[in-house]
């Protein structure tokens, strides 16, 4: 069996670069080694693609578009079961950054189509990513670029492209661009719209298609970030991706999502990164690789600043839910009635496909309020406390394999190990021991003892996932 410390670092990697993993998967990755695991995660195409046909056959509503919940269920199912965890995690990352919301779109298949787009460029080149998202009809409608006309510009997309998608308002106490740059950027994206569409009633929801209308594009000269020319949208993106601010902004986003909670995005102009060296390393890789996100992630996951950041970041609701489901091994194959699991994310404050604003969700500490915490604790505890879950059964069997009789210390150490490994402070360990202290010897030799053992273990697992530490990734 693989040593504990290796498992810990692999588990940390999989919590961040994926959605957690079962013990068996962790052992598999651990046998491969850390760096090889990073490479496997960075190259999702080496793993089998998702078997959508199979999922649809078991759960037809995943693709019926009967409402946004069916797509929320489908996405949560992917997070729980994909063999390409980093691809799915990066899809969630881009959903945080390019936050588009069903509440305005009100067009269910279009949101799912955007997700497919995010997944397709998950670890691609940042220039391509910015061009593709600028052509995405969901984005065009969400930020009103369909109202951005030659002679009558609408600045919404032009502004957010700079402010929230690529450069940020400012850095090092300075502004990254001027109001004039916003106006010129908007002009360059005039004519980037979607093709005329059949009315919804009575035809139903159809997906939109991107259309570039040269007659509605402002072909005049523009000055943007110090450069002048008859710029179109892709020229603007070319200029954006050359900016140091863009390298900084993307690096901070990756750091905030994968390494450690940073202050919320609007304060980045005035708040320095908590680890300037880490951000510098990512910025350098951004320029060295010509904006290749995969290369930046390779630097990130192999760095000491990443490896030393275990349990230092508050789990998002999606991470918490998918992680628990992988641990207990439920919904890892297609199965109906996943609404309860998908909706739990909304109850915890992350309504997937429906972020509160274009700024996305506020993360870190802001995931937690008393209502959300109750939902988080109960969701996790109810699942690890259910002996019928295959993953829970396996934990019980593994624990029982340590011998027919064990003391409380042994049981607690191995339980913490198999539930994560979850790293707890010595205080917390003492508190968890109070649950076990009434048992001098814990036995699982006979079938009667085994029944009792199951209830002791599931009770303990409930408390482990109810701990403060478990709220962190």
């Amino acid at each position: 069996m693989t040593g504990y410390s290796e498992i810990s670092s692999i588990a940390h990697l999989l919590r961040r670069a994926g959605f957690g993993a079962s013990r068996e998967d962790l052992e598999h990755y651990s046998d491969m080694g850390y760096e090889a695991t990073v490479e496997e995660l960075l190259n999702p195409e080496l793993q089998p693609d998702y078997e959508d046909d199979l999922a649809y056959r078991y759960v037809p509503y995943y693709r019926m578009g009967t409402g946004i919940p069916s797509y929320q269920c489908y996405w949560m199912y992917r997070m729980i079961s994909t063999r390409r965890p980093l691809e799915e995690k990066m899809t969630l990352f881009w959903h945080h950054v390019f936050a588009t919301s069903h509440s305005k779109l009100n067009r269910n298949p279009q949101m799912n189509k955007q997700l497919k787009l995010l997944r397709s460029f998950a670890m691609g080149n940042f220039r391509t990513i910015l061009i593709e998202i600028s052509k995405d009809p969901a984005m065009i409608y969400w930020l009103d670029n369909c109202e951005n006309h030659n002679g009558a510009p609408n600045e919404n997309y032009g502004r957010e492209l700079l402010e929230l998608f690529s450069m940020g308002v400012g850095m090092d106490q300075e502004f990254n661009y001027s109001e004039d740059d916003v106006k010129e950027c908007a002009r360059a994206f005039t004519g980037w719209t979607m093709a005329p569409q059949l009315p919804r009633y009575p035809y139903g929801d159809y997906c939109w298609d991107f259309e570039y209308r040269t007659d509605d594009h402002d072909h005049g000269e523009k000055s943007f970030l110090g450069e002048t020319g008859r710029f179109n949208g892709d020229d603007i993106v070319d200029i954006i991706v050359r900016q140091p601010a863009t390298a900084r902004f993307l690096s901070r986003h990756l750091y905030n999502f994968f390494v450690s909670d940073e202050p919320q995005v609007p304060s980045w102009q005035t708040t320095e990164p908590q680890d300037p060296e880490a951000i510098k390393a990512l910025e350098e890789e951004y320029f060295r690789s010509n904006g290749d996100v995969r290369s930046m992630l390779r630097i990130l996951f192999n760095s000491d600043f990443f490896k030393n950041a275990s349990y230092k970041k508050v789990k998002s609701p999606a991470e918490l839910i998918a992680g628990v489901m992988r641990l207990v091994d439920d919904y890892t194959t297609p199965k109906p009635n996943s609404h309860e699991i998908a909706f739990a994310a909304a109850y915890m404050g992350q309504d997937l496909l429906n972020p509160p604003t274009v700024e996305g969700w506020h993360t870190g500490k802001e995931w937690i309020d008393s209502g959300a915490l109750v939902e988080r604790v109960n969701f996790a505890a109810d699942r690890v406390g259910d002996i019928n879950m295959p993953g829970v059964r396996r934990i019980v069997s593994r624990l029982a394999a340590y011998g027919p009789v064990m003391d409380a210390d042994t049981l607690l150490d191995h339980s913490l190990e198999l539930a994560g490994p979850v790293e707890v402070s010595s205080d917390r360990r003492t508190e968890l021991m109070t649950y076990l202290e009434k048992y001098k010897e814990i036995k699982c030799g006979t079938s009667e003892e085994m029944k009792n053992f199951e209830s002791i273990v599931t009770g303990l697992l409930r408390l482990i996932v109810a701990s403060r530490e478990f709220q962190f990734a």
Binding site: N354, T357, G364, S370, L373, T434, G459, R462, R468
Partner: protein, 375 residues
Amino acid sequence: MTSTKKDPILVVIQLTGGNDYLNTLIPYGDPLYYDNRVNVGIPQEEVLPINDYVGLHPAASAIKSLYDDGKVAIINGVGYPTPNRSHFRSMDIWHTCEPDKVGNEGWLGRVIRDIDPKSENVLTGVNFGRGLPRALALSGVPVASVAVLETYGVLTGITGEPERSEALDVFSRMYAPTIGGGPVMDYLGQTGLDALKGADILKTAPDKYESTVEYAETSISKNLQGIAKVLTADLGTRIFYTQHGGYDTHANQGPAHPKLWSELSQGISDFYADLREHDTADNVLMFVFTEFGRRVKDNGSGTDHGSGGMALAIGDPVKGGLYSEYPSLKSEDLLEGDLHFNFDYRGVYGTMVEKWLGLDAQSVVGGNFEQLGFV
């Protein structure tokens, strides 16, 4: 904190999806209504008249009775500048009092903070429903979010005793203050203890509650009954919040909208009767709002997102009647096909904050706005 029965209490009911104002308080005296509402209009003879111009939807008969008793203020033409027809954005504006920028603080979060600045009572604000509405969100202000009162709490999946008590005991130790964990760990600890304390107190409410009122088996009635249980248990809760969903009637409005109003009216009327039975109707103000009204012209089977809408204040503290003007239906007065709002929602909030809760309205709603005399 003192909690006497006579502290003013506010119960907010959010109608989610955009309630159709024109089919709720129906301008049946205006031919333009019938010109625009060819498919979903309510025939004149079915309207419950309030005056020669407007009347309530027949499904709202229970609210009409309360209106006739002088317990209902109908506030016309409520909205905010530069209407946004997105559900979320619009609701967000109502929740945060920030029509121009995206805000994170809820107006009721600020109310709860002002009522109980030291968070001495973790139940000063209670939401019935899952997930915290942004209206109640404010960092450092604990609010309990209750799906079902009877099963609310931490680690409720543990059904046996003494197992659950033992588990809760460990939970409270695990969330007790510790040194050196850092600010996020400390915040988690406080939040966990607040949740635990709130649940402990709330679970006493159902046992104390007795009533002859029989609520309907609808979600809104169940939530209002839950509120009645907590309210009558006298736990010091001052702000209650709940939602009634389904008002986004783009299609099939004919049967859908009356069903909603029948459920809502019955729920409110039963809740009010329950308060009367418990001799606490005089210190409870109900407030009903929605994110926007709907398009003046129907779309064939329903109505699309609009602007200017209505709000209701209900209860013994209310001076019943019609407030503010019904916006004009004339096409030249419409804003992109929608009613033009004529009363700023922050003035409605301000009225309640100042005249009912006795707090400073300006800091809660972010400015000085014209108030009304319904309290």
